[in-house]
Symmetry: C2
Subunit: 451 residues, 2 copies
C-alpha cells in the first residue's frame, strides 16, 4: 500500500492533467452534447490504467461503459459511476469557463469534476497506481459507468436487469460523496427516493381581463389552493397515507446519526439564511434532512410575470413538485395517493403528470463492507469517516435492490463543491485522498470480510 501511495504522490500532477482533459470533454446528457466522444475517451483512459474496458451496447439510451480487472481474491467490487454531467447554464455565473478545466488556488473548476468525473477517475487511477506499482489487483473490480444519471437514468434499470450476470458482485461502491461542512470524509449508505410530477390547472380557453375576477374561475387561485392543501406550515405532508410506509429508524442507525456533525452553521452561511424550517438546529437538522420525506415546489407559474402591470385572470397555472421519499415509501403509490388527495379536495380537474419516480434504498450501517471502507479511510484521512446512513439526494440505487449487495458511496468532493451549480469545483488535495482511499479499500478487501 505504501508503494502505491508513494506512486500517487509522485505522479499526482499527471493524474490531475488526465482528469483535466477528461473534464474538458462536455458530456451533457440533457443537451445530447459530446456523449459518445466522452464515453470513448473514458474507455481509452480506463485501458491505459490497465482496465479491460469497452462500450456496451445500450439501444435505449446513451452509451454505457463497462470495465473489469481480475484480482487475486475471489471477491468482486462493482464501481457504479456516470460520465454525464449537468448542463453548465447559467454560463454567465461561472468565474472560469465551465469546460475550461482551470486550476486556481488548488481548486479545479469545471462542470462535472465533482459530479461525477472526479470520483470516477479517482477509482480508475487508484487501480492504475496499484497495477503500475507491481501489484496484481487485490480483488476483482467491475465498472459500470452510465451516461444518463443527470437526466434520471431512464434506461438504467432495463440495462442492469438485462446484464445481471455481467454485473454480479459482492459489494458496490456507489458513485459519489463529499466531505461535510467540517471537512470530515463521508460514506453515504443510501438515497432518498423521489416522485417528480407536475400539476396543470386549466380553468378556461383564454386568459381574461381581471375585471371578470369576481365570477371567472382563476387557475392561479386554484393552484394556490391545491398546493396549500398538500402541506402544513411545518412541512408535514397532508396527503392521506403519505407516511404509512415510512420505516422507523433502527437503533444502530440512530447511533450513527448521533455521530454525524450537524451541517447547520456551514449551510446557513453558504445559503445566506438565518434559520432552517421549523427553526431546526443541531441534530434535528440531520434528522430532518436525511430521515424525513418532503414535498418541494421546484417551480410554479401562472399569468403575467413580465415587467409592470397587466390585469389578467389566468386560465392556466402549473407547478413542478418533488416529493423526497424514505424507506419504504413507494413513489408510484404516493403518486396515486396524490391523485386521490386532489380528487377528494375538489381538484378533480387538475391534471397530474408523472415526470420521474425513484424508490428510496439504503444499506445497513452494520454491513462489513462499511467497516472496511471505514478502516481504509483511517489509512488516508486525518479525520474520522462519517457514516451517513443515507444521502439527502436521490439516485438509482434501488435498481440494485434485487442483488441484496451492500452499496456505499465515497468520493472526492467537499462541502463547497457547487454540484449542479455554476463554479462546480473540487480541491486537488481532496482528490488525492480520494484516489488513496480507493486504493486502500482494494488492498484491505483482499483479506478482510466485505460481506
Amino acid at each position: 500500500m505504501k508503494k502505491t501511495f508513494d506512486y500517487i504522490d509522485q505522479n499526482f500532477d499527471s493524474m490531475v492533467a488526465e482528469l483535466q482533459e477528461f473534464c474538458k470533454s462536455p458530456s451533457v446528457a440533457a443537451q445530447n452534447l459530446g456523449m459518445k466522444e466522452t464515453a470513448e475517451m473514458l474507455v481509452n483512459i480506463m485501458k491505459n490504467a490497465g482496465i479491460d474496458a469497452r462500450i456496451v451496447d445500450n439501444e435505449d439510451g446513451f452509451p454505457v461503459v463497462y470495465g473489469e480487472v481480475k484480482g487475486e481474491a475471489d471477491k468482486t467490487i462493482l464501481m457504479y459511476n456516470h460520465y454525464d454531467v449537468q448542463p453548465p447554464e447559467p454560463i454567465e455565473k461561472w468565474k472560469y469557463p465551465p469546460f475550461g478545466s482551470e486550476i486556481h488556488d488548488g481548486h479545479l473548476y469545471v462542470r462535472g469534476c465533482a459530479d461525477d468525473k472526479g470520483t470516477l477517475l479517482s477509482r480508475v487511477q487508484a487501480i492504475g497506481a496499484i497495477l503500475k506499482t507491481g501489484h496484481k489487483l487485490p480483488v476483482n473490480v467491475k465498472f459500470l459507468v452510465e451516461g444518463e444519471e443527470e437526466i434520471g437514468s431512464p434506461s438504467f434499470e432495463k440495462f442492469v436487469h438485462k446484464h445481471k450476470d455481467l454485473l454480479k458482485a459482492d459489494a458496490c461502491l456507489w458513485e459519489n460523496s463529499a466531505k461535510d461542512e467540517d471537512d470530515n470524509p463521508v460514506v453515504k449508505l443510501g438515497n432518498k427516493g423521489m416522485l417528480y410530477c407536475e400539476l396543470h390547472v386549466k380553468t378556461g380557453n383564454t386568459d381574461v381581463h381581471s375585471m371578470n375576477a369576481p365570477v371567472v374561475p382563476s387557475a392561479a387561485w386554484e393552484l394556490v389552493e391545491a398546493l396549500k392543501s398538500l402541506r402544513d406550515e411545518t412541512g408535514k405532508v397532508l396527503i392521506d397515507g403519505f407516511y404509512d410506509d415510512v420505516l422507523p429508524v433502527c437503533a444502530e442507525e440512530e447511533e450513527a446519526w448521533k455521530k454525524v456533525p450537524s451541517p447547520e452553521k456551514g449551510l446557513k452561511k453558504r445559503l445566506g439564511i438565518d434559520k432552517f424550517v421549523n427553526d431546526a438546529t443541531g441534530d434535528k437538522v440531520n434528522i430532518a434532512l436525511y430521515t424525513e420525506p418532503s414535498c418541494n415546489i421546484c417551480g410554479m407559474s401562472s399569468g403575467y410575470t413580465g415587467e409592470g402591470q397587466k390585469t389578467v385572470t389566468p386560465c392556466t397555472a402549473s407547478a413542478k413538485l418533488d416529493f423526497r421519499l424514505v424507506v419504504a415509501q413507494d413513489p408510484m403509490k404516493i403518486y396515486e395517493l396524490l391523485r386521490k388527495h386532489l380528487d377528494k379536495h375538489g381538484f378533480e380537474n387538475i391534471e397530474l403528470s408523472l415526470t420521474s419516480a425513484a424508490a428510496p434504498a439504503k444499506t445497513s450501517v452494520n454491513e462489513k463492507f462499511v467497516k472496511v471502507i471505514e478502516r481504509a479511510a483511517a489509512d488516508v484521512y486525518d479525520k474520522p469517516l462519517v457514516v451517513l446512513p443515507t444521502a439527502a439526494g436521490t439516485g438509482p440505487r434501488d435498481v440494485f435492490a434485487y442483488s441484496g449487495m451492500p452499496i456505499a458511496g465515497i468520493g472526492c468532493g467537499y462541502a463547497g463543491l457547487l454540484q449542479h451549480a455554476p463554479n462546480e469545483n473540487i480541491r486537488l488535495e481532496d482528490y488525492k485522498e480520494a484516489v488513496k482511499h480507493v486504493a486502500a479499500l482494494l488492498f484491505r478487501a483482499k483479506d478482510e470480510d466485505i460481506v
Copy 2:
C-alpha cells in the same frame, strides 16, 4: 336629427375609411410607439370634423389632445377618451395583422378599434356629421383625449387638476362601453377602483438542490401560504378591515341591477367555462361582477418553469395582485391593511410594492344626464339601453370626483370585442349606431335637462 342620420348612412364608407387609417397608426403607450404621430393625426381628423383641436403641453407624459366646439345652448359636455392602445402581443395569435385595419365579414380587426379609437372617432364623426348637415352644434363640446390610459394614466390626475378651468363642463361622456351578451346597448355609470401591487419573497441568496427541502426555507411555499391567507375558497378577502368602507347598494341602484341581463350564458361560452365562481347564476353574476370587490392573481412565478425536471428549492418567488374596489374603498388604505395582514400572519419578510392605485367612482342612476342618454339611445337602437350602475373595470373617473358632474360611458363595442386581447374587433353596424347615438344625444341635450 333625421338629416344628420341620413348623412351618416350615406357617408358611412368614408367614415369607416377614416377610422381604418387612424387605427393603422400604432400608439402603444407601454412601448412608447407612435404616440406623438398618432396624437398629431388625431388633431387633424378633429380639425377636419370642425373641432378646434390642439395638443396641450403635458410635460409629465404623452401628449394630451384637447378640442372644443361652441354650441347653441350654454351647456357643455366633456368627452373623455384616449388614443393609446394596448400592446398587440402575442402577435402570432392574431388572425389578421394587429395594425392592418382589415375588414372581414363586417368586422374591423385592429388593435385599439374597440378600446378606444372607435368610440373616440364615433364622437368626432358625429360632430362632423352634425356640422356638415348645416347645423350649429346644439351644445358646447370639449374633448379631453389622453395617451396613457392603458398604462394606468400616471400623469392624468395632475393634468386635470392643472386644467380645471379649461375642462369645466356640466356632464361628461366617458370613454367607452360595449353591447352586452344579448346585444343590448349599455351605458356605464362608474368604475371599480383598483390596487395593483406585487409580493416579493426572498428566503436566501441562492436556489438550492431540492434535497435540502426538509430544512431550507422555500420562497415558493412561503408565497403559496401568504397568498392563501388573503382569500377563502369563495373569493372572500380575509384582510382585516377590507370591507369596512364598502357602501351598500341603494334602492334605485338595486332596481337598475334587476334590469341588467345576466352575462352568464354568453360569457361562459366565450371563455369555455362550465361554471362561475361560487356557482353564481342569473342575477348573482352581475351582483358579483359589479358590486363586489375582489382579489385577483394576475401572475406568479417561482423556481424552474422550463421543460422537464429540475430539482431546486427556490429562494425567490413573486406574485402580481389586483384588488378591484367598490365605492367607497380607498386603494391606499387597502394597501396599508394588506401590509398589516402580511405582518400579522408571519410574512414580515415579504416585500410589498405598489404598482398603481385608483379609487372607485360612480354616478347615480337617477342623474338627468343618464335619462337623456337613454332617450337618445331609443332614437337609434331597437333594443333598450341597459343602465349599468358601474363597470367591472377600472378607469380614472375618480379624477373628476372634485367636479361633481355626472359621468356616463357609451361606446361602439360588443360582447365579442376582445379588448386587450388578440383579434380585437368591432362590428361596423355597431359603429354606425354609436355615431348616431352621440349625434342624438347632442341634439337632445340642447332642450332637455342634462343636470
